[in-house]
Symmetry: C2
Subunit: 239 residues, 2 copies
Amino acid sequence: MVSKSELKYIQSLSDKKVRLETGCFIAEGVKLVGEMIAAGYPIRAIYALDSWDAPDTSIEVNRVEAFELEKMSLLQTPNQVVAVAKMPSKTDAINLTGKLTIVLDGIQDPGNLGTIIRIADWFGVQQIVASEDTVDVYNPKVIQATMGSFMRVSVAYKNIADWLPTLQLPVYGALLEGENIFTTKLPKQGILVIGSEAKGIRENCIDFITHPVTIPKIGGAESLNAGVATGIIVAQLTR
Amino acid sequence: MVSKSELKYIQSLSDKKVRLETGCFIAEGVKLVGEMIAAGYPIRAIYALDSWDAPDTSIEVNRVEAFELEKMSLLQTPNQVVAVAKMPSKTDAINLTGKLTIVLDGIQDPGNLGTIIRIADWFGVQQIVASEDTVDVYNPKVIQATMGSFMRVSVAYKNIADWLPTLQLPVYGALLEGENIFTTKLPKQGILVIGSEAKGIRENCIDFITHPVTIPKIGGAESLNAGVATGIIVAQLTR
């Protein structure tokens, strides 16, 4: 059983403004919530069907009916449990030394951001810096698409056009014309800028790219999906 | 203006059975339909708003109202034009010599299949052979996700567990344990088997993999998206 006001609050967390005010966001599903509990991620509340087999946790579990879960869930097929979690407190510390950092320029598709976070996590990239108009990492669709990788990869939002010129590192950028990514010398540290599928890397950032790279095209496709292109380039740069 | 029966027919093309019976499917949007016309792809009918700037074509354009287009469109935001197109006649000829062919084992997500077709097209892979339970390439969501690449990459459906053992070629398979894809010797010709994110390559196919390959993991993610993994491996095998 969940009160009307509680339900309203949970639903309101799909709104970025409310997330910023409350510092809370939602995550759903047996696998994801289970991983968050196992990792000790701060969870404020759990709402679950009776069928959900709760792991050993001190977090209180509110049992709800299927119709209630459906009202709070953003999945097409709600999957037993919804958690309200707390964002970690922000640290402005970005440490660029000795590692690869991904910079995102205007990635607005939640699925693409989630996929890129998952790629970063797979290849050991722990930091992403995103332009202020990149979709919010705590957007529920992004959280679901990360498959839990949001717990291991930090995403900071910045005015990247102001920030990029202050860096003393090689700045790689995925462009249509650039050095063949398969023969580029591997950097020990650096920045990789990824633009959106629609616009690519925008004018105000493109001048700061010191190392344009490209994925050579053999066939007829006009472009690759942003997530796929990121995966191929990050794979190369972190080999 | 579109008649009720026409509208019903167009809507029915979201059903695979109807597509098989009629040999027709739908494709939407200014860019995609424009590319199909430019490529001379067989189109049976076009339904478009007055705002659509028709390219030079002998195909008859039926002008419709926005509310009518909305009823035939499967996009969240209908984009001016819907085309009913004709599938090319099937050829059973699959030529494996001297090239890479992608084999899909149970890819059920339309977005994933579309992305994989687009990757194939980028890297010059012209043939995909899919298990019979892989989503239909003419599913409207697949067609949209290919961004036009469905015109350049053929997808044949087969009982792949029966077919794979008849081949005399190296069969690469993306598995959690296998040879590092970044150091694998590049094949001149071969098969690359990709499984679904949920199940991977299934039991009845796994024995026919002669070259298990893997994308080494550095960080914490449990898996990569099927499209991203395919992109990374195909990029390596076609370098």
